[in-house]
């Protein structure tokens, strides 16, 4: 039983949630106020239609940020979009932004345009202590700043547009602690894939996760975003990390970050945003960061991951009820149970997405390929997460190094992560991808995705094979 004292102790999640409750529906969900809403072209048109049908306006236009990213080409963005259905979706997005007087609309080609979960933090829209939603499951990314951020459906997008609120059941809380330090050559993506492989793809369903421990504290903001981004891949409603000096330094000075006196007031509040000592979680898990090696996935959900030197689990290592699904998955991938994947030939490499499309990912990839040459058998798609990332790639000289090594740079967007545009991996081909989902057909019908971090992707691009970047 919790002590009287303990009842007043709150987790970080509790503090932010409680500060945003407008009302509680009897026997039902919480009416939660939303500070920042992000919106993209694919999951919003039906919500705007709903507003029109009811004769409603957008309630708080300045609290919605809009960017086109999911269904956009990554070449020739200055020219009209060729696919007429995609063009119609993008035109509809522009029309909706205009008709509903939404000032923060960043269309294709705008310097602030890019993948929604990259441009949000980059422009200072993402703040500690905030509630953030978007019609996209990887909204969990913004939790890296100590925010409650989660993906919603289109009906809920309509609710936010109309009332700046959603109705949500309060999730349970989980803390995942990573003690110790990550080894050299092991990235935040590896940490996340390791964790998901331990929890499975549904292991955190119903929970909101707080990440803690030395290995998490030592991560940069970009790396924290990678970890929080992948929270949804184990089913979590979201994941967050208590804000600290690393967070404040990242936010300070960005265009839409608080300024002057407002900054000081907010900073003082943000510094209180941590889990109280003695506060209890519904579930606690502890891992040792030193146990993690570079990771790859071998199956068709992100929970099917292993260390790059390991072998695919054999059938008897899998739950009986799950064996049909497991076999179906390996069959799709063209892999055998018990097999090692190191040294296998691959066809495509994708660097990008809201998981690994930030400047640090490009720095890591470039540092690895510097002075080497891309393998001839590999098609490499390097897609910056935003125009600001693209600009940095050029300014920091990464572009020249990449070109020298035989790589080309594409234009920003979600690209091959979900392959809504032309960036589709052909059926049967293997792609080492820094994105977030290896579902059947995710990168194109019949495409076979091996999820990995930017260093494993770089090593594969150079050798043309699945390669341990530490060697």
């Amino acid at each position: 039983m919790k002590s009287h004292y303990k009842r007043f102790m709150k987790t970080l999640f509790d503090k932010i949630w409680d500060a945003h409750v407008v009302s509680t529906v009897e026997g039902g969900p919480t009416q939660l106020y939303i500070d920042r809403h992000f919106c993209h072209e694919v999951t919003s048109p039906q919500a705007f239609n709903g507003l029109r049908a009811r004769g409603l306006k957008v309630f708080r236009p300045e609290q919605t940020t809009l960017t086109a990213d999911h269904n956009t080409p990554t070449i020739n963005q200055d020219q009209p979009v060729k696919d007429p259905i995609s063009k119609n979706q993008l035109d509809t997005f522009a029309k909706n932004a205009g008709e509903f007087n939404l000032p923060l609309y960043f269309p294709l080609g705008h310097i602030k345009n890019g993948v929604v979960h990259i441009i949000g933090p980059e422009n200072g829209f993402t703040h500690p202590g905030a509630t953030i939603v978007c019609g996209d499951s990887h909204t969990s990314t913004h939790g890296a700043f100590g925010a409650i951020a989660f993906g919603i459906g289109t009906s809920e997008v309509e609710m936010v547009l109309a009332t700046q609120c959603v109705l949500q059941s309060r999730p349970k809380t989980m803390r995942i602690t990573f003690n110790g330090k990550l080894s050299a050559g092991v990235t935040a993506k590896d940490l996340a894939l390791y964790m998901i492989s331990k929890l499975t793809t549904g292991g955190a369903t119903g929970y909101f996760v707080e990440y803690a421990g030395e290995a998490i504290r030592n991560l940069s903001m970009e790396e924290r975003m990678t970890v929080c981004n992948l929270s949804i891949e184990m089913g979590a409603r979201g994941g967050l990390i208590a804000p600290d000096q690393t967070t404040f330094d990242y936010v300070n000075g960005r265009e839409f970050a608080p300024k002057g006196e407002e900054w000081e007031t907010k900073l003082a509040y943000w510094k209180t945003l941590k889990t109280d000592e003695g506060a209890s979680f519904d579930k606690e898990l502890v891992f040792d960061a030193a146990d993690i090696q570079p990771m790859i996935t071998y199956g068709t959900n992100p929970g099917m991951g292993m260390g790059i030197t390991e072998s695919i689990p054999t059938l008897d290592q899998v739950d009986e009820a799950g064996r049909i699904s497991y076999q179906k998955s390996l069959e799709y991938m063209g892999f055998e149970a018990g097999e090692k994947l190191e040294g296998k030939s691959i066809d495509y490499v994708f660097l990008g997405s809201c998981t690994n499309g930030r400047i640090e990912d490009f720095r890591a990839f470039t540092a690895f390929v510097k002075g080497k040459k891309k393998a001839d058998n590999v098609v490499a798609w390097l897609v910056p997460g935003s125009w600001m990332v693209e600009k940095q790639i050029r300014e920091e000289g990464l572009y020249d190094i990449l070109t020298e090594a035989g790589f080309a740079l594409r234009q920003p967007g979600c690209s091959a992560c979900l392959a809504m545009n032309d960036d589709k991996v052909p059926a049967g081909k293997y792609a080492v991808s820094t994105s977030n989902r290896n579902f059947e057909g995710r990168q194109g019908p019949g495409a076979r995705t091996i999820l990995a971090g930017p260093l494993v992707a770089a090593a594969a691009a150079i050798s043309g094979k699945i390669t341990d970047p530490r060697n």
């Binding site: 026997g27 979706q89 919603i152 609710m159 609120c165 109705l167 089913g235 009820a321 392959a419 057909g441």
Partner: protein, 196 residues
């Protein structure tokens, strides 16, 4: 939204675990700007060959199985938050999805479209799969008022969980936005006091 009260139907079995929303409706079908027609592409890559012809071994193409209840393996609806998945299931004609476990966002999306996700025990689910394999005409009864799901072959019944607010919404065909719009005064009062 249509009202949901009680339903008895034969079922369509899909004994696959972790069915993600990319399988329910692949991303290339998300280019539409309205909610119509997604049912035709429900499970498109499992259901159709490249040339658009039906794959004979997929359950939706097997005339033996029909009904307005989809029964699926655990962790149904994981992955992407696309509500198009709920529109596709609804558009195809399913009113209920039964599984031992659902992904969070899908569950909300389904409820917001009048599709009822019913969580049953692992044993109950296994028995339904066995019964429907033996007799494709086997039926389930879903009674929302009493929150029960009954296997009409074995006679076994379980209660399922749904919060009383959502239950009222489904029984009366109301949606969340009606509720939220009625709270405008409280929202403005909250805004006046919040830590900005």
């Amino acid at each position: 939204m249509e009202k949901f009260i009680k339903l008895t139907s034969s079922v369509v079995p899909l004994p696959i675990e972790n069915v993600d929303t990319d399988q329910i409706i692949p991303a290339r079908f998300l280019k539409a700007t309205n909610k119509d027609g997604f049912g035709d592409n429900l499970f498109a890559d499992w259901r159709y060959n490249k040339d658009g012809s039906p794959k004979a071994d997929f359950v939706l193409n097997n005339p033996t199985f029909s009904g307005s209840i989809l029964v699926a393996g655990k962790n149904f609806g994981s992955g992407s938050s696309r509500e198009h998945a709920a529109w596709a299931i609804d558009g195809y004609g399913f009113k209920v999805v039964v599984s031992s476990f659902f992904a969070d966002i899908f569950q909300n999306n389904a409820l917001n479209n009048g599709v009822l996700p019913v969580v049953v025990s692992v044993e109950f689910l296994a028995e339904v799969f066995a019964n429907v394999n033996a007799d494709p005409k086997a039926t389930l009864t879903i009674d929302l008022e009493n929150q029960t799901v009954t296997n009409n072959v074995s006679g076994k019944s379980e209660t399922f969980v749904i919060n009383s607010y959502k239950k009222e919404c489904l029984l009366n065909g109301l949606d969340d936005i009606d509720y939220l719009l009625s709270k405008k005064v409280q929202i403005e009062a909250y805004e006046a006091t919040r830590i900005k």
